[in-house]
């Protein structure tokens, strides 16, 4: 299972990772930022990491 | 021999006056070790429009760079002739292009005056643009600002190679005509 790390100090809660995840891994926290809700669905496509404008996500395989 | 020569080469853009001025000053400074400064005045167009080169040649350091009272004027257009002819005194030398300049408007000229058809002579040599070099031959012959030999060296320094023969011919022709004209 993929380990996704969210650095909330960098995250600006734009919601891009959540909206464009092809597998709906993320849910929304109360600031609008990501919560890793269904990590078992992650296909490790890495698109959330690449699309994060804030370098706040890291995918550990 | 004059200590300082103030020379004006006047005409219009495209007649090679600035090149002639450079050759003259280079003959004096590089080939004779004198002091020489060349300056110029020109309009915004490369061809046409008034253009003139000034050369000061001296045995001693030249403080002010421009011509104040010309000792020798070369006039290659009527405008240039009219600008200078009346104002020169009797010790000055006035050389004009007899084929191009209309001298009728200036009634009294006291300078020693020589009219030589530089442009026509150049045309006969096959290249109208060497009129400036023909006139340098005349200037070398009619003044002691620079020696004929140094001027010829300076001409050949600038126009070596394939152009050398023609320019040498042009230069010699200017000397020859100056001699004929002064004997008249």
């Amino acid at each position: 299972m993929a380990q996704i790390k969210v650095d909330l100090k960098r995250c600006k809660s734009c919601g891009i990772c959540i909206a464009f995840c092809p597998k709906n891994v993320y849910a929304v926290n109360k600031e609008g930022g990501p919560v890793i809700a269904q990590p078992e669905l992650c296909s490790k496509c890495n698109l959330c990491v690449m699309r994060c404008p804030d370098f706040a996500l890291e995918l550990e395989v | 021999m004059k200590e300082t020569w103030q020379i004006v080469l006047a005409g219009e853009g495209g007649q090679g006056l600035i090149v002639a001025g450079i050759i003259l000053a280079e003959a004096a400074s590089i080939f004779e070790g004198k002091f020489a400064i060349q300056t110029q005045s020109y309009g915004i167009a490369t061809r046409g429009g008034s253009s003139s080169a000034e050369v000061v040649i001296s045995e001693k350091e030249i403080i002010y760079e421009s011509v104040e009272e010309p000792d020798l004027v070369l006039a290659l257009t009527t405008d240039a002739y009219e600008q200078y002819a009346g104002a020169l005194d009797k010790n000055a030398v006035l050389i004009y292009d007899a084929g191009l300049v209309d001298t009728t408007k200036i009634e009294k000229v006291t300078a020693k005056t020589y009219g030589i058809p530089f442009t026509d002579l150049a045309r006969e040599l096959g290249k109208v643009t060497v009129a400036n070099i023909v006139s340098l031959g005349t200037i070398a012959r009619l003044s002691d600002a620079v020696k004929i030999d140094s001027m010829e060296k300076a001409v050949l320094k600038r126009f070596g190679g394939s152009a050398a023969e023609l320019n040498k011919k042009a230069f010699r022709l200017g000397i020859e005509f100056a001699e004929n004209d002064s004997m008249q």
Partner: protein, 381 residues
């Protein structure tokens, strides 16, 4: 040239500038041709190819000075030449070179303005612009040549000062000097003093591009070397990253002045055509193309003691030299081809006891000695 002896050559002022630049080690030129400076570009385009340098003809003067700065940061000695209209366009990016402490040389062969003005005619009306033209507090060095020999010599000096102080140096020539031709002596390479910028010798990761040495000038690395560094047009700290702290900004601006002003005595250049110990009836203060007619005028006025002081380092203004000279003359005359720029500095320095007279001309013509003589007669009556 045989490489053994210093050689005498006949050349134009603008050509001597290009030759001087090459002799000083310049290997990059970016410019946009403009009368009456174009011969510098023409010769530079040839010389750069021949000497292993690079010439780029840019799309405008904004770009020319920017490219010069970029090249200078790779370690090359770089320069550009222009005239009034182009010099105006360079002002903003000259500020980058000042704040970023990038050595480079800008030649302005002054012509008659304002605007397109008399494009082929001389003037000296860009003095204020050369000294003060940029926005913001800043200091540059301005040198003014009066002969073809000085065009060569001062271009070398301009590069040397630029490298020494990490500052742009402006060679403020004029149409008369730039287009005049005379024989000059080219020094042998070993006779020439050439200064190169101080490079860092610390470990690469310790390098701070704006951390000054004891002389106030920080060593400058080159892009592409082991040293990785930032240069910015924004206010920055020693690391080269932008910084808004007022204390840092205040210190930095002060250092941009002090690194030069503290050493002005070492490089202030001038010539005096009289005995400095002598008491004068009149001192004529000249620069650039006013020098020769003023000297001729001074020589021809027989009944008065007239000295000519030629300013070469125009900026920072040589206060000390002018004040000393002002103290030993009854009056001062400042001829200039503008309606009054250098005279303001002279008045500021000379003090109230020495009257300062101007002779100003702004019609596209240089001075004749006779005009200066007439003014001498007026002011020494």
């Amino acid at each position: 040239m045989n490489g053994q002896e210093s050689s005498k050559v006949f050349m134009q002022g603008n050509a001597a500038i290009a030759e001087g630049a090459v002799a000083a080690g310049a290997r990059f030129y970016a410019g946009y041709p403009i009368t009456p400076s174009s011969e510098v570009a023409e010769l530079a385009s040839q010389k750069m190819l021949e000497t292993g340098g690079v010439y780029v003809q840019m799309e405008d003067e904004l770009g020319s000075i920017a490219a010069v700065i970029g090249a200078a940061l790779t370690g090359k000695k770089a320069f550009t030449a222009t005239s009034g209209p182009g010099f105006s366009l360079m002002q903003e990016n000259l500020g980058v070179a000042i704040l970023g402490e990038v050595p480079c040389v800008v030649v302005n062969v002054q012509r008659s303005g304002p605007s397109t003005g008399l494009a082929t005619k001389p003037a000296q009306a860009d003095v204020m612009q050369a000294c003060w033209g940029r926005h913001g507090d800043q200091l540059v060095i301005v040198l003014t040549p009066a002969s073809v020999q000085e065009c060569f010599d001062l271009t070398v000096t301009a590069f040397n000062l630029s490298e020494q102080f990490r500052v742009p140096v402006i060679l403020l020539a004029d149409e008369i000097v730039g287009h005049m031709r005379e024989a000059i002596t080219l020094p042998r390479p070993e006779e020439l003093k050439v200064v190169n910028r101080k490079k860092p010798d610390c470990a690469a990761e310790k390098y701070l591009p704006f951390s000054p040495s004891s002389d106030g000038v920080p060593p400058l690395a080159s892009f592409g070397s082991d040293y990785i560094f930032h240069i910015t047009s924004s206010m920055h700290g020693e690391s080269g990253y932008s910084q808004n702290d007022p204390a840092n900004a205040g210190e930095k601006i002060k250092r941009l002045f002090s690194k030069i002003e503290d050493r002005l005595d070492e490089f202030v250049l001038y010539k005096h055509y009289y005995d400095l110990q002598e008491d004068l009836d009149l001192l004529i203060i000249t620069f650039g193309c006013t020098t020769r007619p003023a000297r001729a005028a001074a020589m021809r006025v027989g009944d008065k003691k007239i000295g000519v002081l030629q300013l070469i380092t125009m900026w920072p203004f040589p206060d000390k030299i002018v004040a000393q000279a002002a103290a030993k003359t009854r009056a001062i005359l400042v001829p200039e081809l503008n309606l009054g720029q250098v005279i303001r500095e002279v008045e500021r320095v000379a003090g109230k006891q020495t009257p300062v007279y101007g002779l100003h001309k702004s019609n596209g013509e240089g001075f004749k000695p006779s005009e200066i003589i007439a003014r001498i007669e007026e002011v020494t009556k």
